[in-house]
């Protein structure tokens, strides 16, 4: 190995294609979808569904082949494998789509966060059963429902219950979930599914928490509210109530040991989805930030203001200095994200690096976009242009998948080698 920052050619080519999608199916609709909250980004969905569903179909075909060949890929083949660029591709995809529009990006018709969990914890059979809908037919969406009114940062406090009905061999879910991204799309459009965290034993704390797959159309599952938000208004964020919602026995995610609570892998495995989701949230922040920086530089250039890289400090204007700081902050966040992503591809444990990237990107995007609004004066604060929207969109990245504070706490615990109790 050697230190290397070269992005594979293939990824750069895909990126160009994605940019085209962003320019034609996202940007032109950004303002409209922001003003008309909860309207669907039809053009975007139609443009990407064929591509995404084909990719998902390929992935499922691979799983099928593996299942047929005995469930595992031969070890020899695995070690020969080149280091994957799966997450690196994803990072650049998410970055570019968010450059297009971060709210619309979240409406990506795919398994999304739910997919991560299924990938991480599901059995091959579950993968085939649950992910097929993302590989064919009409666009469908996946979602993840964790947060509850009294369980935000403290995920262990969830109250939604899953009780097994021996008679019908079904799980019965009761409770309320909030802040479920794409939950409306998953349950009310297409043939989606929501991954629901519920406890099978309230006294067991984290180890009682299991992940259940709730499919669209399940009786007793209702989208009770669509939140009106500060930003990413094209994305739907809903509250879902579960009222004696019955789902098949096998809709609890994972291998038998996980289900029976013999393995702690259930909660931990799903927590590990944060290791991937946090860098991707960071990547989304990067895309918004880049959009803002590019736009600011463009507008300044129209007024004849260029950025004199290299000039000594005392020769810079305050605005030039700010723009450079925006670029440097973006770069810093970018590289921390890239590192955490490269670790995912190299299958190196990355929770510290993932949280570092998330903290930095969340802060950087907040600062960059807020600054962008300021630097563009009366224009920047106006809904004539998208900068103010990017500021509103960007802020979510410092909030979801763990607020900046929660992720900083994770970083602190890891660098200090402290447990949850030692550093509460």
């Amino acid at each position: 190995m050697a230190i290397d920052f070269k992005i594979p050619e293939g990824i750069l080519q895909t990126r160009q294609m994605v940019q085209y999608i962003a320019e034609t199916t996202m940007r032109p609709f950004s303002r409209e979808l922001d003003e008309n909250e909860h309207q669907r980004p039809t053009a975007f969905v139609q443009a990407v569904w064929p591509i995404l569903s084909a990719q998902q179909a390929q992935a499922l075909a691979r799983i099928e082949r593996e299942l047929e060949s005995g469930g595992t890929t031969p070890v020899k083949e695995k070690t020969k494998e080149r280091i994957s660029t799966h997450y690196l591709s994803m990072m650049y995809l998410v970055e570019m789509l968010s450059w297009g529009d971060a709210g619309i990006y979240l409406c990506l018709p795919s398994a999304a966060l739910g997919g991560f969990a299924i990938e991480a914890v599901g059995t091959p059979e579950q993968k085939l059963r649950f992910l097929r809908r993302f590989a064919e037919g009409e666009p469908s969406w996946g979602a993840m429902a964790m947060t509850e009114p009294n369980a935000g940062s403290d995920t262990s406090a969830i109250q939604t219950t899953a009780v097994f009905d021996e008679e019908t061999q079904e799980w019965v879910l009761n409770g309320e979930k909030i802040f479920c991204t794409s939950g409306g799309l998953a349950l009310n459009e297409g043939d989606g599914l929501v991954m629901v965290w519920a406890t099978v034993d309230r006294n067991a704390g984290r180890s009682g928490m299991k992940l259940f797959v709730v499919e669209a159309g399940t009786p007793g599952v209702t989208v009770v509210k669509a939140e009106k938000k500060h930003g990413i208004r094209a994305s739907d964020t809903v509250a879902i109530s579960f009222n004696n919602a019955r789902i098949p026995a096998d809709n609890i995610l994972g291998s038998p040991e996980v289900k029976e609570g013999k393995s702690g892998k259930g909660f931990k495995g799903a927590m590990a989805t944060f290791d991937a989701s946090r860098p991707l949230v960071a990547a989304s922040a990067l895309g918004i930030g880049r959009a803002a920086v590019e736009f600011v530089k463009e507008k300044l250039a129209e007024e004849g203001i260029e950025i004199p890289y290299g000039a000594p400090y005392h020769k810079l204007t305050a605005v030039q200095r700010d723009v450079m700081e925006m670029e440097a902050q973006l770069k810093a966040a970018h590289l921390l994200t890239l590192r955490s992503i490269a670790m995912l591809d190299e299958k190196i444990s990355n929770p510290l690096e993932a949280s570092m990237a998330k903290v930095k990107a969340g802060k950087a995007i907040t600062w960059i976009t807020q600054k962008a609004v300021e630097l563009l004066g009366p224009l920047g604060y106006s809904r004539e242009v998208l900068v103010e929207k990017w500021m509103r969109d960007g802020k979510i990245n410092d909030i979801y998948e763990g607020t900046g504070q929660i992720n900083t706490l994770i970083v602190a615990r890891r660098i200090l080698d402290y447990t949850r109790t030692e550093l509460a």
Partner: protein, 363 residues
């Protein structure tokens, strides 16, 4: 003698406005922000408090108490209630105060009585101009002296309530002298290009105005031959905006503090985490510091001292402070900070606008 205690009258005023904010403004602030429309009931009650008349000259029926200190105390409380309503209610002052300060005897007599009426006075002012950079010392709107008076040309941005105003005070650069001056223009002389669509202060209708060869008589120039002390208007505007910023920030801070004390996670209120507690402490310190800067600048204005530097630095400081505090407010609320039903995100949207709100308030 150094003192940080408002007079009894000021204290009463503060309490009156606080009640107004709590009873009339806050309960429907979200709804009006969503609808991008003002709250006529609140404005009616607010107007009856007589804030503007109290500053107008006694000989015309006012109370003659144009005090910047009293002004900033009032503005903080109004903005603590809701920024858009605060600006709305005080929009007539953008016209009335400069006329009071610099108007000729005739201008004062003709123009000020409308501010003493029972109904909201339909007057506003236009300073800001569109684009990415606004320089109050080099307005793009021009006033060219002619034999008939002046011809005004230019575009103004974010003009509050222009649509319903009858009188607009337009700031323009005199092409002959290069000075920035103010002109009294009637509503039907200007073209309203559109309502501005802004990130925040959505309940306050503001407009883009076009002045195309607008001819005004010589006596439309505020202050007549003497003109105005433009710098003083900017100073009073800077101080007023900083006071409003303190009000918005205080609202965000107090809400976040209460939320953090109520919101239990991991078995205790989140305020018991140093990370949250320290954020709140910093918010408290910065709100207080800025308020004191506002008070000092206002006090200097009342003393007749040159307050330009103080007013300017205070406004700059307040711009940063209100952003930091309102952003921290959102952050404290976490997911709820991002939901429009909760006020934190509105305060952030409003707070971010302060560097741009030139001329949208006066004291």
């Amino acid at each position: 003698m150094v003192s940080f205690t408002p007079t009894e009258d000021q204290q009463l005023l503060i309490e009156t406005i606080r009640r107004f904010a709590e009873n009339d403004v806050r309960p429907t602030a979200h709804e009006h922000d969503e609808a991008s429309e003002p709250n006529p009931d609140a404005l009616k009650v607010g107007w009856q408090m007589g804030l503007i008349p109290s500053a107008l000259p006694e000989e015309l029926g006012g109370f003659g108490e144009m005090s910047a200190v009293t002004g900033v105390l009032a503005l903080e409380e109004l903005a603590f209630g809701e920024l858009a309503t605060a600006m709305h209610l005080m929009t007539p002052a953008l016209f009335a105060y400069p006329v009071t300060l610099f108007g000729t005897a005739e201008q004062r007599e003709n123009l000020l009585p409308m501010f003493l009426e029972e109904d909201f006075a339909p007057a506003t002012a236009a300073l800001l101009e569109p684009g990415i950079s606004f320089d109050p010392y080099s307005l793009k709107t021009t006033a060219s002296p002619t034999e008939q008076g002046f011809v005004l040309n230019g575009i103004k941005a974010y003009v509050p309530l222009a649509d319903s105003a009858t009188h607009i005070l337009v700031y323009a650069r005199n092409t002959e002298t290069g000075n920035q001056e103010a002109f009294i223009v009637s509503r039907d002389q200007v073209e309203i290009e559109r309502r501005e669509m802004l990130m925040g202060i959505r309940a306050l209708p503001t407009y883009r105005l076009k002045l195309h060869d607008v001819t005004v008589a010589p006596d439309s120039r505020l202050g007549g031959a003497v003109g105005i002390n433009y710098q003083l208007i900017l100073d009073r505007s800077n101080v007023a905006l900083a006071a409003l910023a303190v009000g918005v920030a205080r609202a965000a801070y107090e809400y976040a503090k209460e939320y953090a004390k109520q919101r239990v996670q991991f078995g205790k209120p989140i305020a018991q985490n140093q990370a949250i507690a320290f954020m709140l402490a910093e918010m408290a310190i910065e709100v207080d510091a800025t308020r004191l800067m506002v008070w000092e600048a206002a006090w200097k204005l009342d003393q007749g001292e040159d307050a330009s530097k103080d007013a300017y630095l205070t406004r700059q400081y307040a711009n940063k402070m209100v952003l930091m505090v309102t952003d921290s407010g959102v952050q404290t609320l976490g997911g709820y900070g991002f939901i429009r039903e909760y006020p934190a995100e509105r305060w952030l949207r409003n707070g971010r606008g302060f560097p741009t709100f030139d001329g949208l308030a006066i004291v």
